[in-house]
Symmetry: C2
Subunit: 184 residues, 2 copies
Amino acid sequence: MSDVYPCSVIVLRLGHRVPRDKRVTTHVCLVARAFGAQGVFIAGDYDPSVTETVAKLTEKWGGPFWVEFTASPEKLVDCYKQKGWLIVHLTMYGLPIHEVLPSIKQRRRTGMLVVVGAEKVPLWAFEKADYNVAIGNQPHSEVAALAIFLDRLSEGRWVNLSFKGAKIRVVPTPRGKRVEYLGH
Amino acid sequence: MSDVYPCSVIVLRLGHRVPRDKRVTTHVCLVARAFGAQGVFIAGDYDPSVTETVAKLTEKWGGPFWVEFTASPEKLVDCYKQKGWLIVHLTMYGLPIHEVLPSIKQRRRTGMLVVVGAEKVPLWAFEKADYNVAIGNQPHSEVAALAIFLDRLSEGRWVNLSFKGAKIRVVPTPRGKRVEYLGH
């Protein structure tokens, strides 16, 4: 991952509810994987269907990538802060990404925990974050916010990611679908 | 919208299924709105809960923005093509965005219809598109793909969007939530 981000990136998804957030949380995980995060912690209702979906996809399309549920997201944030990680909370109430990204990039850190919420985010997430970052101040989607944040943080270098152990890969084509099955 | 995109942009969401896609389709609509598209056509199960959610949000946060269901998406694509619109289909099987975006930007067109699918996209969508564009060739999310496509197409100018008739707006702040109620 070192050619994509200068440090490890992990995502914390807050407030997963079953069944309403099943697909959106899955999208959060797949975006995290596709854009080069190492893994996702999910706080909320325990929902093995999300971890199973992501595990199957990672088995087929490659990894490494992990998803874990956490029962104490606030302690988890404290723990990562103590380890010198930068806590970045994506929220429509925060400061515009184009204003704060240069500062985020310059900060010394051993890793970055990117926090994305569902509908109601507890106040501690705003308070404990080193940066509350808005991808626009209009309501839209944590999936979109995460993708744009990682796209800009990596300056588009996620295109260079290679996924290990993939059984299949896409052969980009102007029309239709082409895939290649790999010998694993 | 003229300061964001050089032409009108409308989104076509293919394959909405109830209840599984309710929230993801809503996110597609909110991303389209937040990044300056004029509206969204949805093809699939008729689902007034999506249009109601988006209408309520637009009433509060401003517009104009519309969402409509269509029973014949293929005809709709034909119709927009005939009017000189460019059809751009976002798909993990397509050509990488960084390779095709310069060509898309240079194409003469009267508008742009951006097509995003759910899990299974019919072949005609690949065939009728002027461009099949991949935001990475890994499976992730149509919400993320749409956001990154519009972010790059507009070169980030969606930050300048103003939404008319808004009753509320966010006051960006480094910590916590600040909103302003507007006199409408």
